[in-house]
């Protein structure tokens, strides 16, 4: 008798769990499905109220219109270069700074790390104007360098990798020192290779953030040829009217490389995000 009721309550809790998860999945996936469906509708149908779910007629030309209205080749290239250099810089500089904050003793360490924490806690928007002035003064606006500039140093990366280095036993560094390594060799031959999982996570975070970054590329590069996918797509929005099917078709095209990368590196992506919870 008891076991039957226990069984029933277990099944009930399972059903409720699945129902909640399915609901969550639907909510998460709905904008994406809506984007695909809208990209295949005509303009009037896309603005119809009440909206139709499935397109009455499949308008595939929205994709060719999107390709015709934006220099996708340039946008892909600019985005790829920006993501690549931001990732490389974040890994290189955050690793070095993180190692120094975690393992080296130097005067002003606490103060400097406090500044890093302050930078991390401030909204990035407040840095846009001074950063723009710096880029403009260097005469580097409308270049790939301008796109990369705010990502050269990552306060989050420094903090994140510092925590990783703190978790590596000091004795490993001391063993390397006894084995004849200087501080730099200890860092790159022994300590840095031990941070693989965290570096992978930082790579993913930096890449995803850079890929989706809209505000900075829009501010710093006004030349369409030098824009990124996100800022380029933003130009498809008109002041008075927007061709939503073309915008959605363009957004789908812009998403493609990230989706492909995600499918390839799905395991690392999930591990990377999971690892941040454990640290």
């Amino acid at each position: 008798m008891k076991s039957a009721s226990l069984e029933r309550s277990r099944t009930m809790s399972k059903v409720l769990t699945y129902a909640a998860l399915i609901l969550g999945t639907v909510i998460m996936i709905f904008p994406f499905v809506w984007m695909i469906l809208t990209s295949l509708k005509s303009v009037p149908e896309s603005m119809k109220i009440p909206p139709t779910i499935f397109p009455a007629e499949l308008i595939v030309s929205n994709f060719s219109d999107a390709v015709a209205s934006l220099p996708f080749g340039h946008l892909y290239l600019n985005t790829a270069l920006m993501v690549f250099f931001r990732v490389v810089c974040a890994i290189a500089f955050s690793s070095m700074a993180g190692y120094a904050f975690a393992k080296l003793q130097f005067r002003g360490k606490g103060l400097l790390f406090g500044i890093v924490l302050v930078q991390m806690s401030l909204p990035s928007q407040i840095f846009i104007i001074p950063q723009y002035q710096m880029v403009a003064k260097m005469g580097m606006a409308n270049t790939v360098f301008a796109l990369v500039f705010p990502g050269i140093v990552s306060a989050f990366g420094v903090f994140f990798l510092r925590q990783t280095y703190l978790g590596i036993p000091t004795e490993i560094g001391e063993a390397a020192y006894l084995d004849g390594c200087n501080q730099w060799q200890t860092f790159y031959k022994v300590m840095f290779p031990l941070t693989g999982t965290s570096v992978a996570a930082l790579t993913i975070f930096t890449a995803v953030f850079a890929y989706g970054d809209l505000m900075w590329p829009l501010v710093v590069n006004s030349d369409l040829q030098m824009m990124t996918l996100s800022s380029g797509l933003a130009t498809l929005r008109g002041q008075f009217s927007t061709n939503f099917p073309v915008l959605m078709a363009g957004s789908l095209l812009a998403m493609l490389p990230m989706v492909i990368l995600y499918l390839i590196f799905q395991r690392q992506f999930i591990e990377g995000i999971a690892s941040t919870g454990g640290k």
């Binding site: 004795e171 001391e174 063993a175 390397a176 020192y177 006894l178 084995d179 004849g180 693989g196």
Partner: protein, 365 residues
């Protein structure tokens, strides 16, 4: 020639925390010296100063006849084994062992020869391609030893290398390290808080407390003639029993009044030293194996209530209460007394140690 000499060495950390106030110690070439003491006694700091991992605040440290205060660790001709092994997790066993030689730019075939030689000696040959995480604790410890061995150091420094191993493996590794010392014929400095390791492995034991050397002697002398209460209590397991006693003199012989009983002191004790303590309270120390649990009908010195009887297999450790004094006695497993009984105890008077109650320094053995 790899003797080590500390001359008035002081180590003070920022914030004016002095860990080692004034260390004077000489470790001879090829000697196996154990630094032992409780946590925070400065033994690891002392070892790390030899390694060059800690700066010396003042004084001089010699390795051989060279002052090494400002010499980089790699140029000191030392190798160190850490408590947590400190192997490089991303390298194979081979690379872990070879890394120091690669850094020193030793020719490749020479590295290969030395790595295989060390691996063979430590039975690691079949594990050379594995990474540390695929090894057991004992295997990791052997890799750490191999990494130290290949460099042919003049001094081996070992910082509590067995504390992370289980009891059985620890016993096996103790013997292995002793064999290694005999084979390599180099100076070994070994830090531990485990007095069993200290007693079984070292040629000489240096007992430290608060950065000060309490006694520096052979294991047997340390055991038989501890210089103060701290050393007497630290060396030996179960530890020495201590009871308050009043010294009395009857004719030419001296006695100790303990728990209302008169115990004659051995004639071999230093009478001159005892004379100064007549009528005074001192601390009487006696090791558990030097107290016999006898039948109540036999001649005995003390009676005490058995609180706990721990059967160890070959023997029983009796925890007793003698008028508030807690005692431990090692009795044969055939001993009939059990918890709650009153046990009769006979002391081996020639094994009694007396200590000054104030200064805690040994009076006579």
């Amino acid at each position: 020639m790899a003797s080590i000499t500390f001359k008035h060495v002081e180590k003070t950390y920022p914030g004016n925390v002095t860990v080692v106030p004034d260390l004077n110690l000489e470790i001879k070439d090829k000697e196996f010296v154990i630094l032992v003491g409780p946590s925070g006694c400065g033994k690891s700091t002392t070892l790390r100063m030899i390694a060059g991992l800690e700066d010396i605040t003042s004084g001089e440290l010699y390795i051989g006849d060279r002052v090494v205060n400002d010499v980089a660790p790699k140029d000191r001709n030392i190798a160190m084994v850490f408590q947590n092994y400190a192997l490089y997790p991303h390298m194979t066993v081979y690379k872990n062992i070879a890394f120091g030689l690669m850094q020193a730019k030793v020719p490749k075939d020479e590295i290969d020869r030395r790595v295989h030689e060390a691996a063979k000696a430590l039975d690691l040959e079949h594990l050379l391609n594995r990474k540390p995480k695929a090894l057991s604790g004992g295997q990791r410890q052997r890799v750490a030893l191999g990494r130290a061995m290949v460099r042919n150091p003049a001094v081996f420094l070992l910082d509590e290398p067995l504390s992370n191993l289980d009891a059985k493996l620890r016993t096996a590794m103790r013997a292995e390290i002793s064999r290694l010392h005999k084979r390599l014929q180099t100076t070994f400095v070994y830090v531990t808080h485990d007095q069993t390791e200290a007693m079984t492995m070292g040629d000489r034991i240096v007992v430290m407390k608060n950065g000060i050397i309490q006694q520096n002697d052979t294991p047997q002398t340390l055991y038989d003639r501890p210089c103060n209460l701290f050393v007497a209590g630290f060396i030996g397991s179960p530890q020495m029993n201590f009871m308050d006693a009043v010294i009395a003199k009857k004719g030419d012989a001296y006695t100790a009044q303990v728990c209302g009983n008169t115990i004659p002191l051995a004639p071999s004790m230093d009478k001159k030293a005892l004379a100064a303590y007549v009528g005074k309270t001192v601390v009487l120390g006696i090791r558990p194996e030097d107290v016999e649990a006898v039948g109540s009908g036999e001649r005995h010195d003390l009676e005490a209530k058995i609180e706990i009887a721990e059967l160890m297999g070959a023997e029983i450790n009796l925890h007793l209460d003698c008028q508030g004094n807690k005692l431990v006695v090692r009795a044969p497993s055939t001993y009939a007394g059990r918890e709650g009984d009153v046990g009769a105890l006979r002391l081996k008077t020639e094994k009694i140690h007396l200590f000054d109650k104030e200064t805690e320094v040994a009076i006579a053995h």
